[in-house]
Amino acid sequence: MSRHTVAFTVNGIARRVEVEARRTLAETLRENCGLTGTHVGCEHGVCGACTVLVDDVPLRSCLIFGVQAEGASIRTVEGLAAPDGALDVLQQAFQDHHGLQCGFCTPGFLMLGTWMLERSERLNEDSLREILSSNLCRCTGYQGILDAVRAAARTLGRWDDDAGISSPA
């Protein structure tokens, strides 16, 4: 199987790795870059545990190949906290609202949530629940995750208080 040299940045740091064409971005990050914070939950693109931001868009890193990331700017969970380890607003909200238990799905939810908070559209109850239904969590029953992203959105001025609150489907 042919090998390819790929260059991209991860959390602002330039990387150049050599990978087989068939190696997923998830494995490229984990194996070639040593960034094991990105977790692989299903390799089918269903669970979302491996979600990373590629050029500021959330992607399942198990569904794209490392070679497709040529020239991309990638962000992973390791890039969220400050260099001294201080949690960012969203990470802190996850701790405050018990948005994690075993922590395996958490990096994927954090990257999805990071994108949700950076979008131009503000969040409301409907969009919060709809977008967070992209990923699977087996421990929390989702309540803590919804509460955490909502709280972070409020802190960051990204919450639309005028939107109606509707119940889940």
Binding site: Q101, F104, C105, T106, I145
Partner: protein, 770 residues
């Protein structure tokens, strides 16, 4: 002000949130990769098995022949006509279920291992598979294992003449047949192991995503005939378990064998397909339940016929008796049942073996009992709340007809709380108005108890060959004044490092961040049974409390010397030892003195050991749910989900609510969504999460939780377990709510998951709305 009872933020969280957690796959980077060839057929004879042509020199191909001399996995029960089914680590001649590991391939990378796996030449001569319990119980059916006649691996029977009498004389006999389809616990991290050989010592360190590290070490050492002390098992961060990661799986034995024989590091990171088809399944049960009732709704007798499809083998150490025998022993639930007859059978089939999953049989038992209560209320013409109130145990302790002792609880009170919170009359008015518009709302209740925190006596009563139950805790204070607590329990997401620190902190007058809970490493922790059965906070927590109290005695004695006071008058508070005259010494300073100036003290260290082995306790709860069923699509929308639960003293409310919510979400999945589906030939049709359909945030509603805290003297801390309760009530409450919603069609839910196709089939078969 105590630390117990506070919603302390979890110590576990920061590392996990920074992506700095350490899961098994993270420590496996650089190890050689192991992949397993899995059986494509449910039943057959291995005719030939050949390595891939052109195997590279750095690859390995491992079959049963290589493992010659390895023992079989053969857990034991000494009661209930148990047939000791044996499972070879790798089979030599026959396959018993689709997904069974047949051979292992080792290669430097996962990609190369997958390539080689595809090139293995396997020929299996297919034989007829027995997939369902009907197949296996059919007279004259072939045998899955020769030693289990009629394919029954375990059978419990209790026959009561009083029960027969009750049924003869009772004015009302109500019967229900229920079916719970097969589930997979589906932790987000699938199974994983990395066995690393240490050439300096000859030992193997197995890092694995497991719930019972000590048990796994014992089991593997026995299988491979190696000194147990040559094996270290580490459960690092574990991405959920829910019971699935209790068992000794053959794959882990292969990893340790490879590390020992090939003197290197070998990792197997299970993929999701393997996990869905070949890890462990649960809850594939069918019950027929009959209740004899008086005119006023009093339950006079209960009969249960319990069948559990246990799959092809028996999981170590719990055995394949765990599901049928739990249903057998715990069916009376929270109700006064004066007479009980039951038969429970574990049926072998050519399917993935069954293992415990959160709640084990209790979700099925509760589904049966609570559907029976609703059906009986309707048959007798009394209210669904009234029939429960009449029969719930309300005086404690209560000896059940199956010999269990129910300690102080709040069965009636939690029901009353739920009823008050629901405002049922207002709901009935809304329901009637909705029906007039062709919309179907329903309300369902489930009252249940849950046996938790049970130690050796409970497991011994099952006749288990390996009897789990106790927990041991080693506690020591460093010269710096921090406390190291080494536990045999092994958390996998429950927040035990935080909750146990709260318990210890209160006893020592320290802040919880001075307490380090050390777990999941057989080299660093005392022998223990791990985390399962809602036991860790109760049993390990009780041992932690006792250990801390013993350490406190040592600290007070040392402080008495320093402060020239009597030990009895010293209190430990706010990080200091304080005498009654107000003089004090910081505990950290005391710790340093005891370690470094032992000439001044009697005794020179600050270490203690404690154990705890309780008989067990019972948590309880009432779940109540309001649903709307779309009669045209069969879709069920949960409008409101209410939990009133009583797990005794709550150590950390934040964590407790998280356990309840997570459990309810899995219960909702059980009720509405998840099902492992086999084709007739024994192949699995639900091999991805998109087919198995675990619920997302779109399907799980906000769950309203109310607590009661009945402090029972059955546990040292007053805490009862609550890890499983959430999952237990949901299937029954939701099935009752759907049945209530669809009452105009005369439909009752007796089969879960109640998926849209099942509900539509019931509606189609029913008459038009009356």
């Amino acid at each position: 002000m105590t630390w117990v009872g506070r919603s302390l933020r979890r110590f576990e969280d920061p590392a996990l949130l920074r992506g700095e957690g350490r899961f098994t796959a993270d420590v496996a980077i650089g190890a050689r990769i192991v992949r397993f060839l899995r059986s494509p057929l449910a039943c057959g004879r291995i005719v030939s098995l050949r390595p891939p042509p052109d195997m590279p020199a750095d690859a390995l191909f491992i079959t049963a022949a290589d493992l010659n001399g390895t023992a079989t996995i053969r857990p034991m029960l000494h009661r209930f006509a148990y047939r000791p089914v044996e499972q070879a680590v790798l089979p030599a001649d026959r396959v018993h279920f689709v997904g069974q590991a047949i051979a292992a391939i080792v290669a430097p990378t996962a990609e190369l291992a997958e390539d080689l796996l595809e090139a293995i030449e396997l020929e299996v001569e297919a034989e007829t598979a027995l997939v369902t319990m009907d197949d296996a119980l059919r007279p004259g059916a072939a045998l899955v294992h020769g030693i289990a006649h009629g394919n029954v691996a375990v059978e419990g029977i209790v026959q009561s003449a009083e029960c027969d009498t009750a049924f003869v004389s009772a004015p009302h006999v109500v019967e229900i047949a229920i079916r719970s389809h097969r589930q997979n616990a589906t932790p987000m991290e699938a199974r994983a192991g990395c066995a690393a050989y240490d050439r300096a010592t000859g030992r193997v360190r197995l890092t694995a995503s497991v719930q019972m590290p000590h048990m796994l070490r014992t089991g593997i050492a026995e299988l491979l005939g190696m000194p147990e002390s040559d094996l270290q098992v580490i459960a690092p961060d574990v991405g959920g378990g829910f019971g699935q990661k209790m068992a000794l799986f053959p794959e882990y034995a292969v990893l340790v064998w490879l590390a020992r024989h090939h003197r290197g590091d070998f990792a197997w990171i299970e993929d999701r397909y393997e996990n869905l088809i070949a890890s462990a399944h649960s809850r594939d049960q069918a019950h027929v339940l009959r209740g004899a009732f008086a005119d006023d709704g009093t339950l006079l007798g209960l009969e249960a016929d319990i069948l559990a499809n246990v799959g092809a083998f028996s999981a170590y150490p719990t055995t394949c008796g765990v599901e049928p025998l739990m249903a057998f022993a715990e069916y009376p639930g929270p109700y006064k049942v004066p007479a009980y007859s039951a038969r429970a059978r574990g049926v072998l089939t050519h399917t993935c073996p069954m293992a415990p999953y959160r709640g084990v049989s209790r979700p099925v038992i509760t589904f049966g009992l609570e559907r029976l209560m609703d059906r009986a209320a309707k048959a007798i013409g009394i209210d669904a709340v009234a029939i429960r109130r009449r029969n719930l145990v309300d005086a404690f302790p209560h000896q059940t007809v199956t010999g269990l002792t129910l300690d102080d609880a709040s069965y009636v009170e939690t029901l009353d709380d739920a009823v008050a919170l629901l405002d049922i009359p207002a709901f009935r008015a809304r329901q009637a108005a909705a029906r007039a518009e062709g919309r179907y709302l329903g309300l369902g209740l489930a009252v249940f108890n849950e046996r938790t925190g049970y130690g050796t006596p409970a497991f011994a009563a099952r006749g288990m060959g390996i009897v789990p139950g106790y927990e041991v805790v080693d506690i020591a204070m460093t010269p710096g004044g921090e406390v190291e607590v080494r536990i045999g329990a092994s958390p996998h997401g429950q927040g035990l490092r935080t909750a146990l620190a709260q318990i210890v902190a209160d006893r020592l007058g320290l802040a919880p961040d001075a307490i380090r809970i050390i777990h999941g490493d057989t080299d660093r922790t005392p022998y223990g049974w791990g985390s399962f059965a809602s036991r860790a906070t109760v049993i390990s927590g009780g041992a932690c409390q006792t250990a801390a109290d013993k350490l406190a005695v040592r600290l007070r004695a040392a402080a008495a010397t320093v402060l020239q006071a009597r030990a009895e008058e010293i209190v430990l508070r706010d990080g200091a030892a304080i005498a009654s005259n107000g003089s004090s010494v910081p505990i950290a300073a005391l710790a340093r003195q005891v370690h470094q100036r032992s000439d001044l003290f009697e005794g020179f260290n600050l270490a203690e050991t404690a154990s705890y082995d309780p008989a067990g306790t019972f948590s309880n709860a009432c779940h109540a749910v309001i649903v709307e069923v779309d009669a045209e699509t069969g879709h069920v929308r949960i409008e409101r989900y209410l939990v009133v639960e009583d797990a005794g003293r709550i150590i950390n409310p934040l964590i407790a609510d998280g356990q309840v919510r997570g459990g309810v979400a899995q219960g909702i999945a059980n009720a509405l969504f998840e099902e492992v589906i086999y084709a007739e030939d024994g192949n699995i049709l639900t091999g991805t999460l998109a087919d198995y359909t675990p619920p997302t945030a779109a399907e799980i509603p906000a769950i309203e939780i109310h607590h009661r805290e009945t402090i029972s003297d059955a546990t040292l801390t007053g805490a009862k377990g609550l890890g499983e309760g959430g999952s237990i009530g949901a299937p029954a409450a939701i099935a009752n709510a759907i049945s209530d919603a669809l009452a105009p069609f005369g439909i009752e839910i007796t089969e879960i998951p109640a998926t849209p196709p099942r509900i539509r089939a019931l509606i189609r078969a029913a008459q038009a709305p009356r």
